[in-house]
C-alpha cells in the first residue's frame, strides 16, 4: 500500500524551487496536484464539506506564505501534510462540539465495490443497508474517535498512506502509529459491530 503521490516527488522539488523564485504558476501546479488528497484528509476529519473548503483555502494560503521558510529538510509532501494536519486539529479543537455534518454523496461506483456488497448485504437481503445509511454510520463512528486516532485512520485506512509516512507527518514513531491504529480499529469495531463479520 503506497501513497499515490510518492512517485513524482522530484517534480515537487522543481515546483517548490520555482515558487520560491517568484513563479506563482508553479504554486498553482502544486495546488492542483495536492488538493484532492488534502481535501480527503480534511474532509474525513471534519465530516463537513464547507468547513473543509474554507480550511483547505487557509492551508494553501499558509503554505504559500511559508514557502520562503521551506528548506527541504523533509519532502514537500510531508511538509504540506503536516501543515494540513496541524491546522485541521486546531480547527477541530476550536469547533469542539458544535459540528453539523455536511456529507458529500458517495460516488456511484461504490455499489460495484465487493467490500461494499459484502458489508451491506452479507448475502442476506433482509439485512441490506442503503449507501446513505452506511455512510451515516461510518461518519458517526469516525466522529466518536479522538483526533489522534481519527487522523491515523483517515491516512492509513482511507487514503492508504504507509505507516512510515504517517509517522513522519505526525512526528511520532511508527510503533505509535500502529498502536493508535489498533485502538482506533477496536473502537470502530464496537461502533460498527454489524459490519464486522463480512
Amino acid at each position: 500500500m503506497t501513497a499515490d503521490l510518492d512517485t513524482p516527488l522530484n517534480n515537487d522539488k522543481e515546483l517548490v524551487a520555482r515558487t520560491q523564485g517568484g513563479d506563482p504558476g508553479a504554486f498553482d501546479e502544486l495546488i492542483v496536484k495536492y488538493t484532492p488528497r488534502l481535501y480527503g484528509l480534511v474532509y474525513h476529519m471534519t465530516s463537513n464539506h464547507e468547513d473543509t473548503n474554507d480550511l483547505l483555502q487557509d492551508i494553501f494560503s499558509k503554505a504559500y506564505r511559508s514557502m520562503a521558510n521551506f528548506r527541504g529538510n523533509s519532502s514537500f509532501y510531508t511538509w504540506m501534510h503536516s501543515i494540513a494536519v496541524n491546522m485541521t486539529i486546531n480547527f477541530l479543537k476550536k469547533r469542539n462540539r458544535r459540528q453539523h455534518p455536511s456529507l458529500n454523496d458517495p460516488d456511484s461506483n461504490i455499489e460495484n465495490d465487493p467490500d461494499f456488497i459484502a458489508a451491506t448485504s452479507k448475502g442476506d437481503p433482509t439485512k441490506e443497508v442503503s449507501i446513505h445509511e452506511l455512510q451515516k454510520k461510518l461518519n458517526a463512528a469516525m466522529q466518536k474517535l479522538s483526533h489522534d486516532h481519527r487522523i491515523v485512520v483517515t491516512m492509513f485506512d482511507i487514503q492508504g498512506v504507509p505507516h512510515a509516512e504517517i509517522a513522519k507527518i505526525l512526528k511520532i514513531s511508527e510503533g505509535t502509529v500502529r498502536s493508535r491504529l489498533f485502538y482506533a480499529h477496536r473502537q470502530l469495531q464496537n461502533s460498527l459491530h454489524e459490519f464486522k463479520k463480512n
Binding site: 495546488i31 488538493t35 494560503s61 458529500n104 467490500d115 461494499f116 461518519n139 459490519f195
Partner: protein
Amino acid sequence: MSHEPMHKVIKLKRYEQPPEGYYEDFLREFHRRQRAELLNPSLSTLLLERLSGLFSELRVPAMAFAGAAAVAVIASIAIIRETPRQETPRVHSVSYTPTMPYSQVPVTIQNVQNMQPVSLRVEMPTSSKPQGGSMLFPPSYLLQARPANHESPLSF
C-alpha cells in the same frame, strides 16, 4: 485480533467525493481570496508592512537597533538599582477595650516634677453617642501638645 474487515469497511469512505467541478473551482477561489487579501489586508499585516517600511527607510543597520535596545535595558536596570528605597510610614492601629470604668482606673504618677504639661480631652464620636446607657465605641483620647496653663493636670 484481525482488523482487516474494519479496514475494508472504513476504506469505503474514499467514495465520498466533493461535487463535480469542485477541484477546478478551488484554484479560482484561491486566486480570488489572495486578491481580496491584497486589497483588504488585515490589521496585523498592515502594521507589519508599515514597520518594515519605516525601518527600511531609516537605512540604519539592524545591529544599531539591537545596540540601542541593549543600552536602554542596561540604563533602566541601573536607574532601578540606584533609586533609594523609601521607607513607607507604618500605621499601627490598636483597639483598646476598657475593663473597668475610667473613673476607677488607678493612676500612679512618679517623678511629677519632670513631666511636661499636656491637656487631655475626651472626645465622644458623634455617631455613637450612648443610647440607653450602652457605649458602642470607646471614646478617643487626644493628647494635645499645647501647654494647658489654665487646666489642672490630670483632672478629668
